[in-house]
Amino acid sequence: MIEVRLHGRGGQGAVTANEILAEAAYYEGKYAQAIPMYGTERRGAPVTAYLRLDEVRVRERDLVHEPDIVVVLDPAIAQRPAILEGLKEGGLVIANYPHPPELYPLGGNFMVSTVDATAIALETLKRPITNTAILGAFSKVTGLVKVESIEKAILHRFPGPLGEMNVNAVRRAYERTPMPIQARGEVRKDEEGPLSGSGYGLIRSAAGWRTFRPVWDLDKCTGCRICWIFCPDNAIGWAEEKPTVDYRKCKGCGICVNECPTKAIEFKREGI
């Protein structure tokens, strides 16, 4: 039996990716079990899902605690040591990360492969929804599920042009993903603690929620206060008639970028 854990953010489709993989495995006569982590999953907040694949009926009903494979849909989460929790010795990490596996920042006794799934999603879907692109990488690196079966499962779930766009994302990722190498990064503890996305109240930082970061060109700013008044997360401050930003609070929603009348705010991709 192969056990997989998927990490993503609310809105990237980790739960859907998991179900598509299970369906694709089923087309190949395998037994599969897809489990979403229960919780109120906020768009942008860390989300976990679990998958089991086997040639015989799967009897376990627990969450996956010691995965053989960890799949990460988000480049910021991919850099968090917490994703390695419980990973078997010599296990495999498939990460959405904008650089080749040689530059992957985490280390330990595991193999790693990377693909810039965000770039592929932006090319094919025009949105940073990375769940289908990462499946192309999964198929290529593990060989556990054929890429054709993944495409069939995607078209079953999203018939029409949306399905075609997603199939395109899968194919591009399949072509671009290199074979895994031994992880070369740093072995370290996760200072931010476990990955938890659900719940109420305050969080330590929203920095990791962003795919894009708003950047101000104050020369173009007229001081109209529009970005300030519309920020839901109170990330924009007001000092000396100009906006200031606290990136610990900014979730990267893009409202400020969309609303600024003078286009003084640019949205730049995080982590490259």
Partner: protein
């Protein structure tokens, strides 16, 4: 009635503490930030189960879903007994808690004219539990309990006109607001705060997750709701005096609003026309009320 303010008059002081756990671009989180700016620190906030929106720097208590009205009543009566009538008692609740589950208790508080301020962060469904249909969900909207398929076209019924229902309780102040019109929203909270008795403010708070649009478009969606007449901004005093706060010469076509949202993606031209007809008809009725300045019943 509320008095217009400019963006420069909006208090700089923030009553919310962030980062909180609401989604990216959450309209309800912004509704909380703006409303509590206007309420100020001398406020006790009550919550019932709902999405997390924003944590506020106020004493806060959580209560039963069904008992939103009783909860604020108890606090207000206690403050009165203590001689602390200066403190604002606010129930900041979701539309599920106001329109449906908690309606009876809030209606009771309205009839008794308790000195409380009920603010509804209206995202038009039960979002914290994944987006089930509520009394506030508009007709034809897809929710997880009114799906779209061969047997279903989204929600079959129109939404409940809750602000008007509260106005018909004859309470001192009822108003609607939108997060895209922050100065109007803040002016209404400031005005309501100065009135003794029952106040109700219904804030349309778009939810990118449940309404299915990109989080950068929260304000765009909220603005179009008002500009198309889908969510008119008005205020009512004592269940009688009426004023529209946003009155364009011409409304934008409602299709512009609907087309931004995945929850309306399935609509046929005919269904869009049906929605347009009902929006236009209601808008014309409101224009008449605005002209007379009164609800004549």
């Amino acid at each position: 009635m509320s008095e217009r303010i400019t963006i420069k008059q909006v208090p700089l002081e923030e009553l919310v503490i962030t980062p909180g756990s609401a989604c990216q671009g959450c309209g309800a989180a912004l509704a909380a930030r703006l409303a509590f700016k206007a309420l100020g620190p001398n406020t006790i906030r009550h919550s019932i189960p709902a999405c997390p929106d924003n944590v506020t720097r106020t004493p806060t208590s959580g209560g039963e879903f069904e008992a939103g009205g009783d909860h604020v009543t108890g606090t207000w009566r206690a403050l009165k007994a203590l001689g602390r009538e200066d403190v604002q008692v606010v129930g900041f609740y979701g539309d599920g808690g106001v329109y449906d589950i908690g309606f009876q208790s809030i209606s009771g508080a309205a009839i008794r004219n308790e000195n409380v301020f009920i603010i509804c962060k209206n995202n038009e469904a039960y979002m914290n539990t994944g987006g089930q249909v509520s009394g506030a969900t508009p007709q034809f909207a897809m929710t997880t309990t009114t799906p779209v398929g061969p047997m279903s076209r989204g929600k079959p019924h129109s939404r409940k006109n809750t602000p008007m229902i509260f106005a018909m309780h004859g309470v001192p102040y009822v108003a609607t607001a939108s997060v895209a019109f922050p100065t109007d929203l803040i002016a209404k909270v400031q005005y309501g705060k100065g009135i003794r008795g029952f106040k109700f403010l219904d804030i349309l708070s778009p939810c990118p997750t449940g309404w299915r649009f990109d989080p950068s478009k929260t304000i765009e969606v909220a603005r179009l709701a008002v500009q198309t007449g889908f969510w008119p901004l008005y205020e009512i005093i004592d269940g009688r005096k009426f004023r529209l706060n946003y009155k364009p010469r011409e409304l934008k076509p409602v299709a512009e609003y609907l087309k931004l949202q995945g929850r309306f993606r399935h609509l046929s031209e005919q269904e869009i026309e049906e929605i347009q007809r009902s929006v236009t008809e209601y808008w014309e009725r409101l224009l008449k009320l605005d002209e007379i300045g009164e609800i004549l019943i």
